[in-house]
């Protein structure tokens, strides 16, 4: 049995995993990153539009600060997020952007003087301040009060990931590529690493570590059509779920991005609309102002996606062999702007659609995009149930996104969580000793070995692709943008039968070494379990919150549902997850539940809300001298690791 020891084992080489690995390495810990693929190919690279941080250097960002970013994030989450974590996040995001500057990201910079932009379909001239010249720029994104999204053209994720991976190489962090974690090694209370399969040789290797961090991204591939990379299949979440003790949080919170191209499902960035692009229907009519007169195309993603779907249902979609779609019109931005700031979009249109967005409209529709749910963690990034198990980035439910993530807050989360949680992982490693009996490691490896042998030896059984396709269709048809009890019940029932069928998969390719069918056969049963966590969580949550929208329960019900879903898979014999709920305490919120300011949202209030609002007013009245930092502390104290506590400087206002 091959055993590889380290202090800090990170599963996943995207932005979050690499940043956490750099943190533990810089603390002098022996750190290893496992990745399915070369790290620079991770799905983080696909983030086009940008990273939110309240630097406030552009004139349209004036007045921005942590407080404004915090309020946007909490509203965006439909009050489902952990406000404590959101505070940690908004405080650290500017530092993350600035650190990445030092590490080489060529952020787009402010140029002083007048420039033309498109706002609400009109060309207007804005004038950037002299003192901001050369500082990091910001663009407009959905659901934000200020222009806050830092970017490098529309290749932000690429530039960030390259800088991050290069930093990891500088730190001499070994990245073990083409390795897949099949299971966590644990004793029910502590996690000790993972059983890992080499995707080339097929060898099973035990990676034993003090701390194990899951950074495997989202679970978009549970859906047949998604903007996500083919590796975004939620395996990190699945191996946590398989422990039987670690819970997944809010798995039903699944985001649909308004503008993926039809039919390929490839993303065109929110920057298209942020920079002034419009949505149009079959008649060429701009319909969003009718639904959302205030924010129009730049309402939160969940809202825009629902409005588009509503509009298509009214018969206003553009018919195509792949179903109805709408148009994204960026022609008004002009050739120069598109070729400089939206060139990935231009390339995608050119290669996948054969059109030129400088003059042609882009066929788009809402498509699965982001997983708010994931491995539930405490604010320090550790699982509440398994010591030594951490999670960061999209794989985690940390939980700063609640039921809807704002555009530009995901790459921001990856880096910020990597910074903050990375320090906590290092603290944990410093205090932990590695005393694990070899027999426990042996047992974990043997179990996986037996599973693989079982798959290879089975001569007849279910076809893995058939099961996977069936699962993806169920999720598309019945667990999509709009949900209802009847469809969800059917989805749960069908997925339960798939869980049972997935126990008897037979494969045709019997190789133990590199074997794509075996890889599918190992992943698909896990994916079906995750799909059930999503569908069952959605069925039980009888309200509408953020991206979880129930046609039969259209109101946001704070009275009964201001909580976080926790899903457990307690026994391998189960065909359903066990759900528990973690209450969100209104009395501890800095920003008590309120309206997000969109169209026809109805709310059943929580009994504590009014009380907390009054309490906050009292606190404000009783401390009229307090500055915004002191006031914030008195409303909801929070903490971040030592290195990240300083106030963030902004041009023109200093530390205020």
């Amino acid at each position: 049995m091959k055993i590889v020891y380290s202090d800090s084992l990170v599963i996943g080489g995207g932005l979050a995993g690499l940043r956490a690995a750099i943190a533990t390495r810089q603390r002098g810990l022996d750190t290893i990153v496992l990745s399915l693929i070369p790290a620079k190919r991770s799905h983080s690279a696909a983030a086009q539009g940008g990273m939110q941080a309240s630097l406030a250097a552009v004139v349209k960002g004036e007045g921005d600060n942590e407080d404004v970013h915090f309020a946007d994030t909490v509203r965006g989450s439909d009050w489902g997020c952990d406000q404590n974590v959101a505070r940690m996040f908004v405080n650290t995001a500017p530092k993350a952007v600035r650190q990445l500057t030092v590490w080489g990201v060529p952020w787009s910079r402010v140029r002083k003087g007048p420039r033309q932009v498109v706002i609400n379909a009109e060309r207007v001239t804005i004038v950037e301040k002299d003192e901001s010249h050369g500082l990091i720029s910001g663009r407009d994104f959905g659901g934000t009060k200020k222009w806050r999204t830092c970017f490098t053209a529309d290749g932000t994720g690429h530039a960030m990931l390259y800088a991050m991976d290069n930093k990891a190489i500088e730190c001499e962090i070994p990245i073990h590529e083409r390795k897949e974690a099949l299971a966590l090694i644990h004793d029910g209370t502590t996690c000790y690493g993972a059983v890992v399969r080499d995707l080339i040789t097929g060898e099973l290797i035990a990676y034993v570590a003090k701390a194990t961090t899951i950074a495997t991204g989202g679970y978009g591939r549970l859906y047949a059509i998604t903007t996500n990379a083919v590796i975004s299949d939620g395996m990190g979440c699945a191996i946590a779920l398989d422990t039987g003790v670690a819970p997944l949080g809010n798995m039903e919170a699944v985001q649909f991005h308004p503008t993926a191209i039809v039919p390929a499902g490839i993303l065109t960035t929110e920057g298209c609309r942020g920079d002034g692009g419009l949505l149009k229907d079959v008649d060429g009519y701009r319909f969003m102002p009718d639904y959302e007169p205030d924010k129009k195309e730049l309402a939160s993603r969940d809202v825009v996606s629902r409005r588009m779907t509503e509009h298509i249902r009214k018969g206003k979609g553009v018919p195509s062999p792949y179903g109805a779609h709408l148009w994204l019109d960026i022609t008004l931005l002009g050739k120069q702007h598109i070729e400089k700031n939206l060139r990935e979009v231009k390339e995608i249109c050119q290669y996948f659609l054969g059109i030129n967005p400088v003059k042609d409209w882009i066929p788009v529709r809402p498509t699965q995009h982001y997983s708010m749910g994931g491995v539930r963690t405490k604010p320090n990034g550790e699982s509440p149930a398994l010591r030594g198990l951490f999670a960061v980035g999209e794989a985690a439910c940390w939980d700063m996104h609640g039921f809807n993530r704002l555009g530009g807050n995901s790459v921001a989360e990856t880096v910020v969580a990597g910074m903050i949680v990375g320090e906590h992982i290092a603290d944990y490693c410093d205090g932990a000793s590695l005393d694990i009996p070899t027999s426990m490691v042996r047992a974990a490896v043997d179990r996986e070995e037996a599973g693989i042998t079982g798959l290879i030896d089975r001569t007849s059984g279910n076809d893995v692709y058939e099961l996977k396709n069936a699962m993806q269709e169920i999720m598309m048809d019945k667990v999509g943008i709009f949900r209802n009890g009847k469809d969800l019940e059917k989805a749960v029932e069908e997925l339960r039968s798939l869980v049972v069928r997935s126990r008897t998969i037979a494969i045709k390719n019997k190789a133990r070494s590199s074997n794509p069918e075996l890889v599918e056969a190992l992943r698909t049963p896990k994916m079906i379990k995750l799909a059930l966590c999503v569908a069952y969580g959605a069925l039980k949550r009888t309200e509408s919150r953020g991206a979880h929208s129930r046609e039969d329960y259209p109101e946001r019900n704070d009275r009964d549902w201001l909580n976080r879903t926790l899903a457990y898979w307690k026994s391998e014999k189960d065909d359903l997850p066990a759900l528990e709920y973690e209450r969100l305490d209104v009395m501890k919120m800095e920003l008590p539940p309120g309206s997000r300011g969109y169209g026809d949202a109805r709310i059943i209030p929580h009994p504590d809300t009014e009380k907390r609002v009054r309490e906050i007013e009292e606190i404000k009245k009783s401390t009229p001298e307090a500055d915004r930092f002191e006031l914030q502390r008195s409303l909801m104290p929070y903490d971040v690791p030592k290195g990240y506590r300083n106030k963030n400087e902004r041009v023109g206002v200093g530390d205020k």
């Binding site: 693929i37 070369p38 620079k40 190919r41 799905h43 690279a45 696909a46 500017p94 530092k95 600035r98 500057t101 030092v102 590490w103 080489g104 060529p106 952020w107 787009s108 910079r109 402010v110 140029r111 010249h133 050369g134 500082l135 490098t152 053209a153 290749g155 690429h158 530039a159 290069n166 930093k167 190489i169 500088e170 590529e177 083409r178 080339i200 097929g202 990379a229 083919v230 590796i231 390929a264 490839i266 062999p321 400089k340 390339e347 995608i348 290669y351 996948f352 054969g354 692709y465 494969i507 045709k508 190789a511 070494s513 590199s514 794509p516 069918e517 300083n646 106030k647 963030n648 400087e649």
Partner: protein, 250 residues
């Protein structure tokens, strides 16, 4: 085209060889599938694997032309499989080969990751600045000219797909040749004022026959770069710069 139309039958001639299978020998294998509208090589080979041959190996990640995983030789030319539409080929015969110049994992899958990490270590593709870790990240960032930031990003757009390496005649003759990918990275960091390496340090890395002086200027890199990076200009620029450095040395 509507759903009812039948597409043409495509014949995929695919290189097959699995070094993990004892006794396996390289060969070509032909698969026939029906073309569907907007079919890409990504869609096609996945269909072949699902419907015809479960052993077929290839690499895709983003399937959107962003991540650089799927470089392969398509009808004789290096390109990204994910964004190549089958409809771009007039004849129904499509030949797929793995990228040459990289270690073969199996069939169309090659180990670009190993190559790219070694390249990154060789030319140290990170900002060299002794002060970097002492910068206070709660203070205003160092300013940069907006035009310069855009220029750096232009050169930072390489996705390490390996098409330039496979298209390079020099690389075939000199296994240690840095190749266009390496030159582009040098150009990127040399341009970046945050990187404090000076020209003599660059000379040590690139001022030799394994570096920029080995280039025979065949410009396969320029012809086949899926991101249209300015290889020719940048190789010429580095060469000039290195000649300057060499003369200064004397």
């Amino acid at each position: 085209m509507t759903n009812n139309d039948h597409g043409r039958i495509l014949k995929f001639h695919i290189f097959r060889f699995n070094p993990q299978t004892p006794g396996d020998k390289p060969r070509m294998q032909t698969f026939e599938i029906e073309e569907i509208p907007q079919m890409t090589i990504f869609i096609a080979v996945n269909q072949i694997r699902e419907k015809i041959d479960r052993t077929l190996q290839f690499d895709f990640v983003c399937r959107a032309g962003i991540c650089g995983s799927c470089g392969m030789i398509i009808n004789g030319k290096p390109n990204l499989g994910c964004r190549t539409l089958t409809s771009t080929f007039k004849k129904p015969d499509i030949t797929l080969m793995p990228l040459p110049g990289f270690e073969l994992i199996g069939d169309l899958s090659v180990n670009t990751g190993k190559f790219n990490r070694a390249l990154a270590e060789r030319i140290q593709t990170w900002i060299h600045d002794q002060e970097a870790e002492n910068r206070d990240i709660s203070r205003l960032e160092e300013r940069m000219d907006p035009g310069l930031a855009e220029e750096i990003y232009e050169l930072d757009r390489c996705i390490e797909c390996g098409c330039c390496i496979s298209a390079c005649g020099t690389k075939r003759m000199r296994p240690d040749f840095l190749g266009a990918m390496g030159f582009m990275k040098i150009a990127r960091f040399e341009l970046d004022p945050r990187d404090k390496r000076d020209v003599t340090e660059w000379y040590e890395v690139v001022g030799n026959d394994e570096g920029v002086f080995g280039c025979m200027s065949l410009m396969g890199c320029e012809d086949f770069c899926p991101k249209d990076l300015p290889h020719q200009t940048k190789i010429a620029y580095i060469r000039r710069k290195m000649i300057g450095a060499a003369l200064a040395k004397k």
